[in-house]
Symmetry: C2
Subunit: 209 residues, 2 copies
Amino acid sequence: MKFYDCSTAPSPRRVRIFLAEKGITVPTVQVDLRKGEQLGAAFRAVNPDSTVPVLELDDGTRIADIVGICRYFEEIQPAPPLMGRNPAEKAVMEGWQRWCERECFYAVMDAFRNATPGLKGRALPGPDDYEQIPALAERGRARVTSFFRRLNERLADNEFIAGTVYGIADITAMVSIDFAGWIKLRPTEDQPHLRRWHAAVSARPSAKA
Amino acid sequence: MKFYDCSTAPSPRRVRIFLAEKGITVPTVQVDLRKGEQLGAAFRAVNPDSTVPVLELDDGTRIADIVGICRYFEEIQPAPPLMGRNPAEKAVMEGWQRWCERECFYAVMDAFRNATPGLKGRALPGPDDYEQIPALAERGRARVTSFFRRLNERLADNEFIAGTVYGIADITAMVSIDFAGWIKLRPTEDQPHLRRWHAAVSARPSAKA
């Protein structure tokens, strides 16, 4: 098994934390995104979409998706469960994970990639080049701010995002919030539930992964 | 159990097809998105995010997410499997489902919502109002065109998107491609594999759901 990673990037960090929570280690290959290694022929042969993370199984099967990779490990090693323990929990956890990804992770990505000078012409990851859209960067910032407010409300009555148990939704949200630091957006003083939760999940040893 | 649906909208159609493939029927409540019923107080009490579909379980648990709802039914009634049969298949299917959603469904949504006069000020679903961004509509069209080309390549050597078995990735892609008809983008004559696959999945009885 082989894990294509980039130690400085938020997307593979979501998988690294998931693996750390399960106590799983996988042989890792670093892909240098800053030097554009993901766009070179060698890595395109691994993933035509030019994104990390990618997990390669021993039979050659490749999983080029953050949550797909997490799913694989959840299936082969259910303990500790990070994607729900029964049908309703699994569905609820998936819904919240996707909400955090859509409303925060992608919004931070919009804000970051559409406003960073070094990413001119590369406003989206992947094989195709797209020009930056300044209005999309602005919208991304507004969405992240809205997300912080809504997540703070959610956490007023819930210890973790999906309820009483830590899981993949918390991983996605924590990585997204840390990613938002790249665009200088952070939970504010008037968001005590969000700050309580962020401190708690950040204190877990897995957060260093 | 109760399913909040909108019979004309692409998002809940993804769940309806999934249920039809499994032969499951659920009592349904129609939410009139064209009249803005999702933004009214009654529906916000069901889902503060103002989106359909939502599944309400008998104990009151609500799942406000397309794939979360599908996951619930996959777990309580595994046959026929639509999300993979073993860890590797589940991971691969999830990766392709997410690829189709991100690269096509969301791209069509960008193109449609940012260019449709009736959606001025409503460029995203959800509780917050965002102005349309014309450049994002254009980018969406370019991304859908790129997706058609890449999916055609994928289907040259694969009967279905994730490989040999029909599943949720095919549902997402079919609904996304039909949704692309709303912005007048369709697979072209020089995409025979995509057209072969689209004809096959569209001929399944579930496609009418």
